[in-house]
Structures are given as structure tokens and as C-alpha cells.
């Protein structure tokens, strides 16, 4: 019975309550790189203004397990305009690249379907980082291990939902059984289609074997910075292995031919 989240970006107001609730519940600090020392101030001061709409935290990191994207699209005379908000986190893929890559089984899937990094097992090898097609998992210099959203592992195993879903004021993030959430997502999608939003789509039913955290987008997923065909590296294994074998055979054949030619030359020299 997999638990997950459905993120309906059409009713996300970009308030970032999810980001704060995540940090509060999980005891995560402000991202250290966002703060610097200022003369005559006994405390660090934030200086991470980006000028990129209302997004000042930029991306997911070892201390930012949630991140709200702000996408502003206006034509020059403002006859067309929209401002999308999309709260992003680990998607708890059915086919999880990070979990596949972990050589010490520090990354596990629990009985509730969430992908969880066991901090006491992680050796900090970072193999998981390039294995995530979404850039979700990140290394912390402070702990020497990797971190990402746990789907509030402690909360959900004690009968609660995720902190972000709890804090979301509009119900844009909902937590529950993936099968139930899919029904809700389908109903909302057909409602939006009925209202003429033909580009609305669900992202995450098929990607990476199905995402336990999936999204309703009002336009192409790439508008929201999500890859159209996320590739889990391990799924390339068969193809790359085959290429390797073919290459090896080709090299062997070439070598044999080469040796044979040399042998023939020698024989001719004789």
C-alpha cells in the first residue's frame, strides 16, 4: 500500500509554507550558503536574493528538501500572462535511481513505498547523486552523507501525513494512498479539461516506473522544469552492457586480425 503525494499546481499559491514546514519538522537549518557575516552583526544575515521571480532558494539541497518554483510568462503587451508555482521535492520513484545505485543499501524503500536514506548506513560515496534524474538527492559536507525528503518517514509510520501537506493552506499538496490520490488527480484533470485547459496533464503516472509523488501541471512538464522522459541510469544497463560486449568482440576481432596480419608479415619476412 504505497503512500505518496499529489501536487495540484493549479491551486498552489506559491506561499512556501511547505518549504518551512519541511524544515521545521525535519529539523533542517537555513541553507548555510544563503547567509554571510556582516560587520557589527553577531548573527549571520541572508544575502541570497536572486532576482528570479520570488524564488530565492533556487534548488533542492541537503537542507532544502522542498523547493517552490516560480515561472513568470508574460508577453510584451501583457495581453497574455501567467505565473505558475510548483512545489517540488523527491518523487519517491517506483524505479528509484538513487536506491539502485547505493552500494551499501543505505537507501531503502519502506513498507509504505517511500525511499529513505539511512543516515547511519550511508558512506557518502555520492553514487546516488548522478543516479537521480531529478537532482533531488544532495551531499552534506557537515554530515558526510546524502539527504533528501523522506516522505516524513517518522510521521507516516505514526499515522500522520507529511508536514508539507499538513501545512499547505489550499490543499495543493495532498498526502495519502497513491491509488486514492490518482482518483483525485484524474477527477481534477477532467474538470480542468472540461473548463478548456487542454494542456493540463498529470506528470508521474509512467515516469521512472511511476512516481509516488506526482503532479498536475497546466502545461508541458518542461515549463515547470521537469524532464519529459526522466532516465534512471540503471535502466540503460542492458543497452550499455550490450554495447560493451559488442565493442569487446569488435576489439577482439580487430586484435586477432591484427595479430594474424603481423604473423603473416613475419612469415613473409621469413
Amino acid at each position: 500500500m504505497a503512500k505518496g503525494m499529489f501536487v495540484d499546481t493549479s491551486i498552489c499559491t506559491g506561499c512556501k509554507a511547505c518549504q518551512v514546514a519541511c524544515k521545521e519538522w525535519n529539523g533542517l537549518p537555513g541553507e548555510p550558503s544563503h547567509f554571510h557575516k556582516v560587520p557589527n552583526r553577531p548573527y549571520p544575515v541572508a544575502f541570497n536574493f536572486t532576482g528570479n521571480s520570488y524564488d530565492n532558494t533556487g534548488q533542492l539541497s541537503a537542507t532544502d528538501w522542498r523547493h517552490v518554483r516560480f515561472i513568470e510568462q508574460f508577453n510584451e503587451n501583457r495581453t497574455e500572462g501567467r505565473w505558475f508555482f510548483s512545489s517540488d521535492s523527491c518523487k519517491h520513484c517506483t524505479d528509484a535511481g538513487c536506491l539502485n545505485a547505493c552500494p551499501v543499501k543505505a537507501i531503502v524503500r519502506t513498507d509504505m513505498g517511500n525511499v529513505f536514506v539511512q543516515q547511519d548506513v550511508c558512506i557518502g560515496c555520492k553514487y546516488c547523486i548522478p543516479s537521480c534524474p531529478y537532482g533531488v538527492i544532495n551531499f552534506s559536507e557537515k554530515t558526510g552523507t546524502v539527504h533528501k525528503c523522506t516522505l516524513c518517514n517518522d510521521r507516516i509510520h505514526n499515522g500522520l501525513g507529511t508536514a508539507c501537506a499538513k501545512a499547505c493552506p489550499t490543499g495543493s499538496i495532498s498526502f495519502g494512498e497513491v491509488s486514492e490520490l490518482k482518483k483525485k488527480a484524474d477527477a481534477r484533470l477532467s474538470q480542468l479539461k472540461g473548463l478548456g485547459f487542454t494542456k493540463a496533464n498529470i506528470y508521474g503516472y509512467d515516469e521512472a516506473g511511476g512516481l509516488n509523488v506526482f503532479y498536475l501541471f497546466m502545461d508541458n512538464p518542461t515549463v515547470y522544469g521537469q524532464p519529459l522522459n526522466p532516465i534512471v541510469p540503471q535502466r540503460r544497463l542492458f543497452k550499455s552492457a550490450a554495447i560493451t560486449v559488442v565493442t569487446a568482440i569488435a576489439v577482439a576481432v580487430a586484435a586477432l586480425i591484427s595479430f594474424r596480419e603481423r604473423g603473416m608479415k613475419k612469415e613473409t619476412e621469413k
Binding site: I11, T13, G14, C15, K16, A17, Q19, V20, K23, E24, P29, G30, E31, H34, F35, V38, Y43, P44, V45, A46, F47, N48, F49, T50, G51, S53, Y54, N56, T57, E72, F74, E76, R78, G81, R82, W83, F84, F85, P169, T170, G171, R188, Q191
Partner: protein
């Protein structure tokens, strides 16, 4: 329609309800605002208007509505407007409108500083013979002064009817004028107007939601009034889904208006005794304040007022001493925030308590306000972080620049640590007048104490200090009823044992019988003879019986949820809900059924008789009407209160029982809202010769210079506002790293067009300048901001959120160094939503 509010950003939790209406019930959301905000992003329609042109926009909707085919043919609108509003009232024939008077109303004084209201008054029938010959009580007194009923013309044809006056007043407020003055296209305007009209009527209602985007103008009160006029014309008041929602600025700001922290108001909206008015005795006070409104439910004013004085002084308040009225403080002037700081600057104020406020950055013309603080003898700041106000004497921009020297500042500052909300018990009263109790979860750390602890113990110490004073003027402190000692059970689980009882405070607010201290279930039982106590009559019923606190109730349902908290007055969630039924008392439609007349229901009246028929509400809503007053009941001409009101008078707090399209009294700057430009405007008024509100409050004092109209030095319109990530002056948010990193630095939003013109680059620094000050901010160049074309000329607007200061983990210049002391004449609210200035690329030059 959300207008004058950025609800999604500034009221993100409440915004779930409009979104629910949209996703579950197909509601259309519209946002009328100069900027494209996170609210606009969630709405179906965004109509951009130049800041400060709201009255023109709303007036044009009214003009569109009352001349539309639908409004003139659907009988619903006529029935509602003729019977439930003052459309049919006849106004004094000497009344002259702004149309006849270059933008002024009749009655302007020679000095141009005030109106007399005689020409705005109703034409009335003869004064009735008084119901009592001799005035033995305050109520008798009011009964002797009942005016004649207003004259009416229900056909609305008479040129002196309110309706004809309104129609004429707004006839030039056209879609073309909207385009020219507001800078909003005709098409977009018409879309908004049509959507409102089409979604109002028998089966549908529309709501208007606003916040300080409407209040913070020199015409703030009139903007909000105009929304009321529009909603009354559309039949959208007193009905489910309708109304006007005033989003309050933060938790329980509604409560602090009700239990008044306002200088001019006593708890429960009783006016403050005023040395400038005929308020010499309690009799004078009641006659002056209640006389003109006694034919409304305010006919009970004497009961509310005496019960309030009784709550202040208990046994010491007697009939003989006018219930202590003479000892009650009286105001002598406008003591609201802006003039208070002007007086402070002049050295008239010696001591100052600052609790939950940070005027050093939140106050308009903050440089002026910080310098005024330096004129105090002492100041007490209670907060849970060291606010900019509390350290103005050591590291404010004026100290850094050398303009002020710490050694020269005589103000002695006391900083007292305050508790946070989870560390105290009490109730919040929210936007919709709903009281909700919150529990104390833990003791505050160290010496931190709750506000109620501080106030209670300050009062106790003062009482002790003055206990033996022989001076009569210390009577109010000596006799102050101040008995809020906690019961042992209330503090058993906590370290702090002298925390006063929040229950006892709320019980006093609710009211009780003086003799046996029994809580009162309803304000209907309050008396004017000193036998009842009530701190604020509007809250009566929240503690209907000893130990029962309805603010604690938590049974929600899918609709009005009458058993969730307590909505004052008397658990009425939708005010004037008699208007949810038609003239005969039947619901306007099945879909919009709320309160209606059930002729078969028999109920006992308080005097023991049986009434055949009663108003009922199956949803459990409190009925905002006399339950036994039949729809066809004709009010008594010589009565007061409910006796005077008829069965078709839903607006029971108005002296004629009707919603006021035209205000014959109450607003000092005109009976109808008229478009005046903001005090500082880039353009002349294109509607009237009168440029701005003629009665706007101004302070021509040093340090508060104003810009000229269309000042070439200051051509750009500036609005200040808030964003979701921070709260007000940032005391509660900028210290938290989690919030600091979300919005780390002060920024200014501007259009790419203006940025290109000024050579300002995104994310780099820019400087904003007014005659009051200069600040730097990071530029956020975005097409969400747009230039407006006003009368053919391009006008740029910039927007600056004002959360930052020089303390805390997210820093920035003080935006209010730019703003100015100028105010609405009715309520003295400032005009932070629109003033003028200029911008340039790069950091500011000087220290400010």
C-alpha cells in the same frame, strides 16, 4: 472580486476558501489590482488599474449596473433596492452634488475644511408626539427625541430620491473614463462589471473582498463605502455568499478594534467621551451619541454604555455619580497614530508604551517617527525580539549618519521581553468576527510574560501606588474593577503562578449580573440601571453560563458552522441576514435560503406571550433581527430601537433600517464617494476640478514635505505592501532563518520598460527617492508590473514590500523613510498605498 487586497499572499490561509469556491463550486475569481500578484495568478480575470483610482472603477460598475437591461428588468433588484436600501428616501432639495459643484458637495465651510450636513439630510414627516411625557431614564430621554419618518418615493422617479442622486452622480463614470483615468482597458472593465452583474440576483450572490489596499488612501473610507453601495444595489448583502469581506491585517486585529485599542472608540463601538463635543454629563453623552441613531438597535445605547461603565468601576459606579462617567478619560483631539507622532515631535508626549508594534520602520515617514521617539522622556517596548524601535537610540540610520547622537537622546528605553502566542491563553477574533479560544501550551522562557500578565500587574501596581491618594482625580484608578486573579486550577500546570485569568477577563467582556455575578446569555438583557456589567456588549453570549466558553467550541459542518467558535453579535455570521428573505419573509430562492419567516411557528416572547410566527434558520445561523417581528409589521413612529423598525427593515443598526446608498450622516467628506486623486498624484484629476480629497488630513511640519501634483521631480507612483514570506515589520519573521532565506533582502518591483528607461538591471541595486528620504533596494524587473497610459501619457508604477529594517537576519532599508504623513479625514489612516517618487540605478549616496 478581490480588490484592494492581495489575499493569496497576505491571507494565505483564508485564501483556501475562494479556491474551494472556484474548484468545487465553479466560482469565478477576479482580481482588480495595479500589480499582477500571486492572487492575480489564481484568478480567472486580472484587471490592472492605476493605484488610487478604485472609486472611479467601482463607480463605473455602478453606472453600468443601474443602466443595464438585466438590472432594470429582473424584479429581484427592484424589490431589494426599493425596500432594503435608502434608494427611495427623499433628500433635502438644497442638496448639491459634485456634478453641480466642481467636485465638491453642498455644505462646504468657508475655510474649505469641513462640511455641514444639513443639505445631505432626509426630508422627514412631522415629529411624532413623544411616547413619554417625562424623562425618568436615559431611554425615556431618547424617546423624547424621535424624529419624523423619512419621506420616500418608492417609484424612485423623484429627482430628490437617493436613487436619482446616485444615478446622476455616477453618470460620467463610464468605461471610457475608466480607460482614461484608471488605465484599464474598456474590455477588461466590462468583463468585470458583467461578471458581477450576472452572478448577482435571486439565485446567485457575489462577494467583494478587500484589505488595506482600500483603506490606506486619503479616500479609504469612501472606497469601502462605495463597495457597500454596489453590493446593496446588486442585492448582495445579508445573503449567503454575498457581502463585503474586510480582511484584517493580522491575528485578532478585529478583536483589538472590538475591544478597542482605538483612541476614539470604547469597547463595542461606543464612542469615546470627547471634550470637544457636548459630552459634559452622561445624559449629554447619550443624547449626543445615541440620539441620532436611537431609531436603530442603537436605541439600546444607554444599556450598553452604563454596563460598560459598571464594568470599569463596579460598586463605585452609581446612579448618583453618573456611573463614574465624569472620571472617564475624554479625548481632546485626534490622538491616532500619525497626529500622535506629530504631537510627540512637538514635545507634547512624555511617555510611550509600544506593544506589538514597530513604528521605527512600520510608521509612515519613519524618519520623522524615529526622530519623534528621541523627544520622549521614556519608552517601554514589549516584544520578543529587539525591534528597530527599541534600539532607535543606538543604531538607527539617523545615528549612523550622525543626524542624531546617542548621547543627546534623553529617551529612557525599557525593553521587556514578551511571550509568544502559544505561551498564553486567550481568544482571537478574526476577519469574520469569529472568536476562537487558544490554549497556553507552555510557559514562556525566563522573564518573558504575556501581554495580559503585563497589563494586569501594571494595573495592580498602579492601584497600590494610588491607594492612599487624597486626590479626587485618582478615583478611577482607586476604584478600577481589577479582579482577575487566577484560580489555582488555571495555573496548576505552569511555572508562572501569577498569570491572570483570561476566563475572568472574557467573562467581564461578556457581561454578568452585578448582584449575583451570573454570566449573561444575550445583550438583549442588559440594563441601564447599573444592575448589569458588560465590557463590550457585542461579545455578550460568548460565555452564556458560568464555565461555558463558546469560543472553545469546535464542531464544524460543511457550511456556516454555528458550533465552531462564536461569531459576534449573538453568533450571527452573516450580518443583516433578514435580507436573505424577500419582503414577505420567503427565501429569495431555494439555493440562497438562510433566514426566513415561518408563520406556523409559535414561540414565547420574553414577556410571556405567545407569538404566532417566527424567523427561523435551519442552518443554525444567528438571526440578525427580532425573531418575532413579522415581515409586514409596521414600526411605531414614536418608538426607538426595534419598536421603530418595521418588518422590512433588515439593516437594524441604521437609523432607518435600510442599507445606505447615500449617507445623510456619518462620513465627513461627502454623502457619496467621488473620484479624487491621491494626495500625491502624477496626474491632475480628470473627473472634477477638485484635485484630491478636500478634507484629507495633512501635517505641514518640518520633516514632512509633500510633492506637488504631477511633480516633475517625482513622476513615479509608489505602492508599499507585504509579501507572504514576512509579517509586517518583520519582527516575527526576519529573525527566523527559514523565513529570512525565502525573502532575504529588500527589493523593488518594476517593469522592464521603466528599468530600461532608467538603466536599472534585474537583481542589481537601485535607489528610490522622495522628498522625505532615499533608500536602496534590489531591483526585481518583471512584466507583472506594467506602465499605465493615463490620458495618453505613460505613468510608471513601482511596488516595494516594506518588511525590512536594520535588525535581524534579513536586512534592508526602511521603506517608510519614503512615505508621508497624510490621511483620510474620517479615520486618519495614512496613504501608504499610493504616493510619488523617483528611481535611479545604483546604491543610494548618503547614509539614508
Amino acid at each position: 472580486m478581490i480588490m484592494g487586497s492581495n489575499m493569496a499572499e497576505c491571507h494565505p490561509v483564508a485564501f483556501r476558501w475562494p479556491l474551494k469556491a472556484k474548484t468545487e463550486h465553479g466560482a469565478v475569481l477576479m482580481h482588480v489590482d495595479p500589480r499582477y500578484t500571486r492572487t492575480s495568478a489564481m484568478c480567472d480575470i486580472h484587471a490592472p488599474i492605476r493605484a488610487g483610482t478604485d472609486i472611479l472603477f467601482l463607480g463605473a460598475i455602478i453606472n453600468h449596473v443601474i443602466n443595464s437591461k438585466r438590472w432594470n428588468t429582473d424584479p429581484f433588484f427592484k424589490e431589494y433596492v426599493v425596500n432594503y436600501t435608502n434608494a427611495a428616501m427623499l433628500v433635502n432639495p438644497d442638496y448639491q452634488d459634485t456634478e453641480d459643484h466642481d467636485g465638491l458637495f453642498s455644505g462646504m465651510s468657508k475655510d474649505g475644511k469641513s462640511y455641514s450636513y444639513d443639505t445631505w439630510a432626509y426630508q422627514r414627516g412631522p415629529k411624532p408626539a413623544p411616547a413619554v411625557a417625562e424623562a425618568k431614564t436615559f431611554t425615556d430621554l431618547l424617546l423624547q427625541h424621535v424624529p419624523g419618518r423619512p419621506k420616500t418615493d418608492p417609484t424612485l422617479k423623484n429627482p430628490h430620491t437617493v436613487f436619482q442622486i446616485v444615478k446622476k452622480h455616477y453618470r460620467r463614470y463610464t468605461p471610457e473614463m475608466v480607460e482614461k483615468v484608471c488605465g484599464c482597458s474598456k474590455e477588461t472593465f466590462l468583463k468585470v462589471a458583467e461578471t458581477l452583474l450576472n452572478n448577482s440576483g435571486r439565485d446567485k450572490t457575489s462577494n467583494i473582498t478587500y484589505a488595506v489596499g482600500w483603506t490606506q488612501h486619503t479616500v479609504g473610507v469612501q472606497i469601502i463605502r462605495l463597495a457597500g453601495v454596489l453590493q446593496a444595489l446588486l442585492g448582495n448583502i445579508g445573503r449567503p455568499g454575498g457581502g463585503i469581506l474586510a480582511l484584517r491585517g493580522h491575528a485578532t486585529i478585529q478583536g483589538s478594534t472590538d475591544i478597542a485599542t482605538l483612541y476614539h472608540s470604547l469597547p463595542g463601538y461606543i464612542n469615546m467621551p470627547d471634550a470637544r463635543k457636548n459630552h459634559e454629563t452622561l445624559k449629554d453623552f447619550i443624547l449626543t451619541e445615541a440620539g441620532p441613531v436611537a431609531t436603530s438597535y442603537w436605541g439600546n445605547y444607554p444599556k450598553f454604555a452604563v454596563s460598560y461603565f459598571k464594568a470599569q468601576w463596579g460598586d463605585a459606579a452609581t446612579k448618583e455619580n453618573d456611573y463614574g462617567y465624569d472620571y472617564h478619560p475624554k479625548i481632546t483631539d485626534d490622538h491616532s497614530h500619525l497626529p500622535m507622532f506629530v504631537h510627540m515631535m512637538e514635545g507634547q508626549i512624555r511617555g510611550f508604551f509600544v506593544m506589538g508594534q514597530n513604528p521605527a520602520i512600520g510608521g509612515q515617514n519613519a524618519r520623522f517617527q524615529r526622530k519623534a521617539l528621541a523627544k520622549l522622556d521614556w519608552m517601554v517596548v514589549r516584544d520578543f525580539y529587539e525591534t528597530e524601535t527599541s534600539v532607535f537610540w543606538k543604531n538607527s540610520p539617523e545615528i549612523t549618519s550622525g543626524e542624531l547622537k546617542t548621547a543627546d537622546i534623553k529617551t529612557e528605553v525599557f525593553f521587556l521581553p514578551a511571550a509568544m502566542v502559544a505561551e498564553m491563553e486567550g481568544s482571537f477574533t478574526n476577519t469574520q468576527r469569529l472568536l476562537q479560544q487558544h490554549e497556553k501550551a507552555a510557559d514562556p522562557p525566563g522573564d518573558c510574560r504575556s501581554d495580559i500578565w503585563f497589563t494586569y500587574h501594571l494595573g495592580r501596581r498602579l492601584k497600590k501606588l494610588y491607594a492612599n491618594s487624597p486626590n479626587d482625580h485618582d478615583w478611577p484608578i482607586q476604584n478600577l474593577l481589577w479582579e482577575y486573579d487566577p484560580e489555582p486550577s488555571e495555573v496548576a500546570n505552569f511555572r508562572i503562578k501569577d498569570e491572570p485569568s483570561a476566563y475572568k477577563v472574557l467573562k467581564e467582556i461578556n457581561g454578568y449580573t452585578w448582584a449575583d455575578k451570573k454570566p449573561l446569555p444575550t445583550f438583549a438583557v442588559l440594563k441601564e440601571d447599573g444592575s448589569t456589567v458588560s465590557g463590550a456588549w457585542i461579545y455578550t453570549g460568548v460565555i452564556p453560563a458560568e464555565g461555558v466558553n463558546k469560543a472553545r467550541s469546535r464542531q464544524g459542518d460543511e457550511w456556516i458552522s454555528p458550533n465552531w467558535g462564536f461569531a459576534w453579535p449573538a453568533n450571527r455570521h452573516i450580518m443583516y441576514n433578514r435580507a436573505s428573505a424577500d419582503l414577505q419573509g420567503k427565501p429569495w430562492s431555494e439555493k440562497k435560503k438562510l433566514v426566513f419567516w415561518d408563520p406556523s411557528k409559535e414561540v414565547k416572547t420574553p414577556d410571556g406571550k405567545v407569538s404566532h410566527g417566527s424567523w427561523v434558520s435551519p442552518a443554525g445561523e444567528g438571526i440578525d433581527f427580532l425573531p418575532t417581528k413579522a415581515p409586514n409589521f409596521r414600526g411605531k413612529d414614536n418608538g426607538i430601537g426595534f419598536d421603530w423598525l418595521s418588518g422590512n427593515d433588515p439593516y437594524i443598526m441604521k437609523s432607518d433600517g435600510k442599507a445606505w446608498l447615500f449617507a445623510p450622516a456619518g462620513t465627513v467628506d461627502g454623502p457619496l464617494p467621488a473620484h479624487y486623486e491621491p494626495y500625491e498624484s502624477p496626474t491632475p484629476n480628470l473627473v472634477y476640478k477638485q484635485q484630491s480629497n478636500p478634507l484629507a488630513k495633512t501635517w505641514f511640519v518640518e520633516g514632512n514635505p509633500y510633492h506637488k501634483v504631477a511633480d516633475p521631480k517625482y513622476p513615479i507612483v509608489i505602492s508599499t505592501y507585504r509579501v507572504t514570506e514576512h509579517h509586517l515589520s518583520g519582527t516575527m519573521s526576519r529573525w527566523l532563518p527559514w523565513l529570512a532565506e525565502l525573502m532575504p533582502e529588500l527589493f523593488c518591483e518594476l517593469s522592464p520598460e521603466l528599468a530600461a528607461e532608467k538603466g536599472i538591471k534585474n537583481a542589481e541595486y537601485m535607489t528610490i527617492e522622495t522628498a522625505r528620504g532615499e533608500i536602496q533596494a534590489r531591483a526585481l524587473v518583471t512584466r507583472r508590473m506594467r506602465p499605465f497610459t493615463i490620458n495618453g501619457k505613460v505613468i510608471h508604477e513601482i511596488g516595494i514590500p516594506w518588511h525590512w529594517g536594520w535588525q535581524a537576519r534579513a536586512e534592508g532599508d526602511v521603506v517608510n523613510n519614503l512615505s508621508v504623513l497624510v490621511a483620510d479625514p474620517n479615520v486618519t489612516i495614512h496613504e501608504g498605498k499610493v504616493f510619488t517618487g523617483n528611481v535611479r540605478a545604483g546604491k543610494r549616496g548618503g547614509a539614508l
